[in-house]
């Protein structure tokens, strides 16, 4: 027994040195020494925006610019919703458009991607390997490269100056389908076989078995799509002329283009409104995202 002990201890020590340590050790300090400055650099611009959004006018004009806010106010936010854009559309209208289009994008993406992911993962049909290959190829699809042909497609579909052009182009997400499909791959076939024997059809299987079990993947998809829809101004810039159908991100763009100092506070407030929902959703779903990412590898 005494001979066993040191060996066991050694293995334990190796484990402690490896990934995911359970306790703090002096040896970890070197990682902190690199990571903390990097984190500071990453966080700094975001903190500046937070500060600017709550600065009263005199602090925004202050020279030299002060990092901290002394007397935080909601003035910039009030100003943001009080001013109207050049065509008399209030900021709340843009915000409303963004909320509706983002929610619609998220809901539609979840339904469409899960259906496609389920079929591509669990069904056996001849075209499946080819379809997966095409989708994997499309992971590298870069929408900005084909902005012009996309414009023609939108125009051909009659979606120019239509609110839904904020939503529909965003629904084609190869990355989303890929992530959901990878996650469904991890579910045992026996589960579906059992449901089939119990008389469930595909739609029931999808709704009652697949959807609940792939919740982590759906959370990840929610975050990804929400972020892209919430910050999207492509449609507002390229496809929509009617000011009352444009999104908040587009409005922020026009605000920040003006570039005055008092505009800076308002732009910072608008930036916060666009940033904070992303952050909150991510914090809430963070652990689920990580468990989806474990399946994200391309083999």
């Amino acid at each position: 027994m005494k001979k066993e002990k040191p060996a066991k201890k050694k293995v334990y020590k190796l484990k402690k040195n490896g990934i995911n340590p359970q306790h703090f050790e002096v040896g970890q300090l070197k990682f902190y020494a690199i990571l903390i400055p990097i984190c500071a650099f990453m966080a700094l611009p975001i903190i500046i925006i937070f500060m600017n959004a709550f600065k009263p006018l005199d602090e925004l004009f202050a020279y030299p610019p002060r990092f901290y806010v002394r007397n935080p106010t909601w003035d910039s936010f009030r100003a943001l919703f009080a001013i109207s854009s050049t065509s008399n559309i209030p900021a709340s209208r843009y915000l409303f458009n963004s909320i509706i289009s983002s929610v619609a994008t998220v809901v539609c993406t979840l339904v469409i991607s899960t259906s496609a992911g389920y079929v591509l993962s669990k069904k056996r049909f001849r075209a499946r390997p080819a379809l997966m290959e095409i989708n994997n190829l499309a992971l590298m699809f870069c929408s900005v490269a084909v902005a012009i042909p996309r414009y023609f497609v939108i125009s051909y579909l009659g979606l120019l100056d239509n609110f839904w052009s904020n939503v529909i182009p965003l629904l084609a997400t190869p990355v989303g389908v890929f992530l959901v499909k990878q996650f469904i791959d991890g579910l045992p076939d026996a589960l579906i076989e059992a449901a089939v024997i119990d008389g469930a059809n595909d739609y029931q299987i999808l709704l009652k078995i697949i959807m609940p079990l792939v919740k982590p993947a759906l959370s990840t998809l929610t975050i990804m799509t929400f972020q892209s829809a919430w910050g999207s101004e492509v449609a507002s810039t390229n496809y929509i002329n009617n000011e009352s159908l444009k999104t908040f991100a587009f409005y922020l763009h026009t605000l920040s283009a003006s570039g005055t100092v008092s505009g800076q506070g308002v732009a910072a407030a608008a930036t916060l409104i666009l940033f904070v929902p992303n952050l909150i959703i991510f914090i809430f779903m963070q652990s689920k995202v990580m468990s989806t990412m474990a399946h994200s590898g391309i083999k």
Partner: protein
């Protein structure tokens, strides 16, 4: 009903629910990915200024692009290569190293730091430029100018964003700052999920330090996630390339300093309305991305593909 019970699983699966469930995604995929890509290829063979009917010109657009377009060869290509090496390649390596370092600390600080590093990637598009414009503001109220003035490093405020001297550097900093996105999370998760026994086995087999640990255990075991991360890094590099226009507020960027291939497409497509030519640039970009992804596949892909 009377057939053998051998494969009860197969029957409902071969029904028409498969095409029905796949149809919405397939339709969207065809409309917004497949057709635009094909249209770009076809359009690139035409002269089309959106007013006259398109005129077939064969490969003339490509010829002009590579032989006559001074801006493309002198500014766009070198800028794009510099930008891609920094944001794509070095950004990717940095993302891996950050993920690895994060995996070496305990859970709570790891979660907080991972969130901090990931947070900038949530500021895509317009947010990115509004955040950084405050820092790089051209007058003395900009944070960088104020800081440099205070420490007497500069004497006059520098007009960072409209100077052709600094624009590309700033674009690279900003884009790298926001590049730790989903690929970074994927790699972090890949590294976290490496079987710990592999490390133990590797130490028994004689590896000695952390560096060897990374080379012989971590990278081979997390290759699939690293490949996903690489593809995301490549896409993100080109997807974020509009940042120069957003920061400087003009396309073309001052002195073409921040002109990248994506901004070149916008310049010809949406400003000069030379759609055929812009499409040719798009095709060059798509082929470039495809080659880079193939390269990543060669390095990181599994061999039995």
């Amino acid at each position: 009903m009377s057939t053998k019970v051998k494969k009860p699983f197969k029957n409902p699966l071969t029904h028409h629910s498969t095409p029905f469930l796949l149809a919405p995604y397939a339709a969207l995929f065809i409309l917004f990915i497949l057709i635009p890509v094909i249209a770009a290829v076809v359009l690139s063979l035409f002269y089309f200024n959106t007013i006259q009917t398109p005129k077939f010109v064969g490969l003339e657009n490509y010829l002009n692009l590579f032989t006559n377009d001074e801006v493309f060869m002198q500014h766009v290509v070198p800028n794009t290569i510099t930008y891609a090496v920094w944001v794509g390649l070095i950004g990717y390596v940095a993302a891996f190293l950050l993920a690895w370092m994060l995996s070496q600390v305990t859970k709570l600080p790891r979660t907080i730091m991972a969130l901090t590093i990931y947070a900038p990637s949530m500021t895509g598009g317009v947010l990115l430029s509004t955040v950084w414009k405050v820092v790089f503001n051209g007058d003395q109220s900009g944070y960088l100018n104020a800081a440099l003035l205070r420490f007497n490093i500069i004497e006059e405020p520098v007009v960072w964003l409209s100077s052709s001297e600094y624009l590309l550097t700033i674009m690279i900093i900003v884009a790298m700052w926001s590049s730790m996105g989903i690929g970074f999370l994927s790699m972090l998760s890949g590294i976290m999920n490496v079987n710990e026994e592999l490390y133990e086995a590797a130490y028994i087999d004689g590896i000695k330090n952390r560096f060897q640990e990374i080379i012989y255990v971590t990278i081979p075991s997390s290759k699939p996630q690293m490949l996903f991360g690489a593809v995301m890094a490549i896409v993100n590099t080109f997807q974020s390339a509009g940042v120069g226009v957003a920061l400087s507020g003009s396309n073309p960027t001052p002195g073409y300093a921040g002109q990248l291939i994506v901004t070149h497409i916008d310049d010809y497509g949406f400003i000069r309305y030379e759609m055929g030519y812009a499409a040719a640039v798009s095709v060059v970009l798509l082929v470039g991305i495809w080659i880079l992804t193939k390269g990543a596949n060669l390095v990181l892909g599994s061999k039995d593909e």
